[in-house]
Symmetry: C2
């Protein structure tokens, strides 16, 4: 095991002190141009690389931030992460990505592990809004570790967040379905303890009411974001006597499942039932029967979240300023809802 070269090694070689080397390397002003250059050169020659661990231990900052998402193999979250990286990498930060797979224990565990790693902040999209989680968050806040929510948030005092206007996204989509002539629009929702799903539900409901249709709670069903769940949910409705003529799903994956099931039962999309999803996952565009969806501008969401983090990390002393950024979503109309 070849030992890595430290500033001491290069100090010894140059008959200097480690402190001087450190200063030279950091381009400290009070150093002669001569030694500065000399140090830099021999550093390169000796393959020196700064040990960020030591730096972190010393400074109390690790220059690592944790990003926690339900899962990464989904275009939306992957894009948000990309946006975060865009902003944070140039600032010298590293991004540690953790997945919860929607599992409560993993979510809490990840938070604690990241804390042990002395990360400088956590950007996350929560997958669960149970009480124990709120405790974890409070724990974080007490330690004054910047915490920023994106997309899937829970309204917690003192926590900044970046979301889209889910209400509007849902309202616009529902309105579009109504404009297409649909009268009984079902909604596939998800855990409404999470703000996004609550707001999509509310936007849907409001559009129904505003347009003089009858709001029927029986047409609202709760699922997780899996394709298979969409099939199951659709099955329930297709057996109904007075079934829906449109489905607005909170998830593209669930919308896909619904479409599969509708077709499997010999019905047609959009002729018999219109379908719209949410998130604008790439496959919605690629399908032969492209799927109407709502773009959430994930890149911008990630960038914004990262910028908020940078601000919070600077003003660590001042009192926490809660910042809630809301982006505007965009309805993308495709074949699945065009009659």
């Amino acid at each position: 095991m070849k030992k890595k070269t430290t500033i001491y090694d290069i100090a010894k070689k140059l008959n200097l002190t480690a402190a001087t080397v450190s200063r030279a390397l950091n381009n400290n002003l009070k150093i002669s141009e001569n030694t500065r250059k000399l140090v830099h050169e021999t550093a390169i020659k000796m393959n020196y690389e700064q040990n960020r661990l030591a730096l972190a231990l010393k400074s109390g900052k690790s220059f690592n931030v944790g990003v926690i998402v339900p899962r990464i193999d989904n275009h939306f979250f992957a894009s948000v992460i990309r946006g975060i990286e865009d902003v944070l990498y140039p600032q010298g930060y590293h991004v540690i990505i953790c997945q919860t797979h929607d599992q409560e224990a993993l979510e809490i565990g990840n938070i604690n592990s990241l804390l042990n790693l002395q990360i400088d902040g956590i950007l996350m999209s929560i997958s669960n809004a149970k009480l124990e989680h709120i405790d974890s968050f409070n724990n974080l806040l007490k330690k004054n570790v910047p915490l920023i929510f994106f997309d899937r948030t829970k309204d917690i005092k003192g926590v900044s967040s970046v979301t889209i206007d889910d209400f509007k996204g849902a309202y616009d989509t529902t309105k579009h379905l109504i404009d297409q002539g649909c009268k009984r629009i079902a909604h596939f929702s998800n855990d409404r303890l999470l703000e996004i799903f609550k707001n999509r539900y509310l936007g849907y409901k409001q559009a129904i009411i505003d347009n003089g249709l009858e709001f029927d709670e029986n047409l609202v069903i709760e699922t997780t974001s899996k394709v298979e769940e969409g099939r199951k949910a659709a099955r329930l409705f297709l057996d109904m006597a007075n079934g829906p003529d449109a489905i607005f799903s909170s998830s593209d994956f669930v919308a896909l499942g619904a479409i599969q099931e509708i077709k499997a039962q010999g019905l047609r999309v959009p002729e018999d039932i219109c379908v719209a999803g949410f998130a604008n996952e790439p496959f919605t565009k690629f399908m032969e029967l492209s799927i109407t969806s709502v773009d959430q501008f994930p890149l911008e969401m990630g960038r914004t979240a990262a910028q908020i983090f940078l601000e919070e990390v600077k003003n660590t002393k001042e009192k926490r300023t809660e910042k809630k950024v809301v982006l505007t979503p965009k309805l993308i109309i495709r074949k699945s809802s065009l009659t």
Copy 2:
């Protein structure tokens, strides 16, 4: 900023030494059961959490491993990562995920950054096989940092790898297309400096030859793994006088693009042209016209890579033993190639 509690804090409170506390916390044998219990209790009471940075600095092990992939928003890589996590989390390791987006500079930059973070090893799927990269790898090896390739490898002496039998996957797929009656099978390849693409090409070629068909180099085209590239590549062939009656693509995404273009030109899949991809991405199954593809067992690939890492990390002293694990792929036949 509330300071985190250290072993010193709890030592002071108990009129002990930090050393004693450390030993108690680590369940060192030579400690009285009394103090051991006492220390553990007050540690919990004071919300103590080990500072892994200090531990890492001290021990030289960070218990972090880096995983470098071209991108994460793709089911294959996400699944491999999941497999890696499955094995490494229970062992106390954390996984730092980096994306290269197929950019050379990012790939080298990521390796160096991870090194600075004192990671204990790197598991990666390379996106580029240029010479400068080989240098980076040699650099890693010199420092004796375990390096394990998965999927996209470059044959480097002393580096272990986990791959699937790409030759067989390609051979089986091509054979299947031939069995369907296809005579002129095109191949959409990718950078053949990478083993996987080279082997898929070779498997394809061998199947052609073994079955008495004419191998035509003009039917082989190189693309990157983007949907749009598939459309472009297909366009080239569709304009041809004596065009192909089947396409075997090294990438599902490219296969998808090809199908889109074929349809756009008024031809039918599979009636006019059969198409098969590689990787078994979920969308290949979900499409109305499901796409024939090859499953690469990514979870198993990730788990295996992680296990090799664990072995290498143990035998840091012994000489590096190169281990090449090859998994067997599975052809999944779907509508796009069933005439």
